[in-house]
Subunit: 293 residues, 2 copies
């Protein structure tokens, strides 16, 4: 029976600290301001925006919505970014990505216009460079940062450990590998072209799986003593949702199998996905603090 | 007996291609221009500059030297970078690093002023971001690119192979790991805090050693069938220099030991170090081509 690493517990701990930090900011007259750029009406994006805005408001964060139709032109979005850069009431910005249609081809150009000081979700190449170099330029992406927060919360040592990261996306796998490296782990980055995955995962102390492939991680891939962080959230219509119905998220691990072997594991749902929004707010508070010192 | 992967052979091949490409540029009225910023009189830096300038001139590249005393202020260097950005006769820029004394604290700020289009030696965070994302923004650093050029020259497959990179410097180890990843290798990045290095290196198909620790790689660390790229160049006063005297560079591998086990290995000197300057020129020619299309 593995220890269950609860995203909810980490989120609560982050939230408590956020409340203190926001109170401290307000006591010196600063209300943290979050800009959300959205150029799509897709349901998941709208739902993410509403959820983020609601939680932000509850914490006393001002939310500034920049909403555009899907056929908006890139100059409109760039103008919004420039406004956000100049607005002293806004300390951090997220843009819901990927952008739709034609806008997508300009996503990088638009993203890179954001000032790194307000880049709380690693939109810009400069922030990416900071993850790469291990220096604090901008902020790292929220999901891999949530992995680090969870490991730290549960006092799981990173230094000197072997870590296998599965999946090399720009948003999760690559930055997770570098962030673990920056904390002195020895990291192997695995992906679709990796041969004999299990020989690598079995030798690792920490497995971070971000492949988005349900069923990828079975008992054949793991060893006793390991910590498994399952970052993936693939929608599964047939999985019981815990409220008597069906349809919820599932990770890469065959949970029951892996859980019976390893020392500790994150559930899906209820793991990393619970933490990322609080990491975003944490970055926002840091940005607000830095910008108003 | 391992195959010796000759840096000289790769350099000759790159040089031949460069001559063709420079002739093609000149035929449409473009002479490639290289700017070299130097703010130190240290002998190795002066020697590097003279060597680079000499080779460039022989290839028909115009060289523009921006030389400063060690006590120059950062604004003088920034002004030089801005001039280089604006100068249509200059297509690429290198700055001899690390900068000395007080200037060093401003190195990043100065570097980041260079336009990515002319950043042929990966000075800027934006170019670093490009290595990280696997997209072509600016150019990758020359030394890890030389590793890739050597592997390609000898038709050594990278895709699907396991690679161990030893050393996580910003200039060599980290970008080498990401560049091998971008070519679909499964890469483990090892460093000082790595435990049981030999268990990782022995399982790899390709070992790239950039630790700067002579004697690090012995026969205990390698297996038959492997390719060893020894990137390190540590000065060794006692090593025979091949001209009857003593004093030359040495790599991380105990050459005779490793060579007796593996399939192929680069010598030091005569390996990667021979190639980097031609990679720099290759980037310059690409930049000149891009900027004058």
């Amino acid at each position: 029976m593995a220890k269950i690493l609860s995203g909810k517990e980490v989120a609560s701990s982050l939230e408590a600290k956020l409340k203190e930090d926001i109170a401290a900011l307000k006591s010196r007259g600063v209300t943290p301001g979050l800009a959300i750029i959205r150029a799509t009406d897709s349901r998941p994006m709208l739902s993410y925006e509403n959820n983020a805005a609601l939680r932000a408001s509850r914490l006393g964060i001002d939310v500034f919505k920049y909403s555009f139709p899907e056929n908006a032109c890139k100059d409109e979005l760039i103008k919004a970014v420039e406004e956000i850069n100049a607005d002293r009431n806004i300390h951090g910005c997220i843009m819901l990505r990927p952008l739709p249609g034609e806008l997508r081809t300009h996503e990088k150009e638009i993203s890179n216009r954001l000032t790194p000081e307000k880049d709380i979700d690693c939109m810009t190449d400069i922030s990416f460079g900071g993850v790469f170099t291990g220096k604090s330029t901008g902020f790292p992406p929220c999901t891999p940062q949530a992995v680090i927060e969870l490991l730290d919360h549960y006092a799981i040592a990173i230094e000197g450990k072997r870590a296998a990261v599965i999946g090399r996306s720009l948003i999760v796998g690559r930055p997770a590998a570098l962030m673990l490296l920056n904390r002195n782990a020895t990291v192997t980055l695995c992906h679709k072209k990796t041969k004999d995955l299990s020989s690598i995962t079995k030798e690792s102390d920490i497995i971070v799986s971000a492949a988005g492939c349900p069923g990828l991680l079975t008992k054949e891939n793991v060893s006793p003593g390991q910590v498994v962080i399952d970052v993936s959230t693939t929608w599964d219509e047939k999985k019981p949702n815990g409220s008597g119905g069906f349809g919820t998220f599932t990770g890469d691990a065959v949970f029951e199998e892996v859980e019976s072997v390893v020392d500790a594991i994150t559930p899906v749902p209820g793991g990393i996905g619970m933490i990322t929004i609080y990491v975003l707010f944490k970055h926002l508070i840091e940005a607000a603090d830095n910008l108003t010192k």
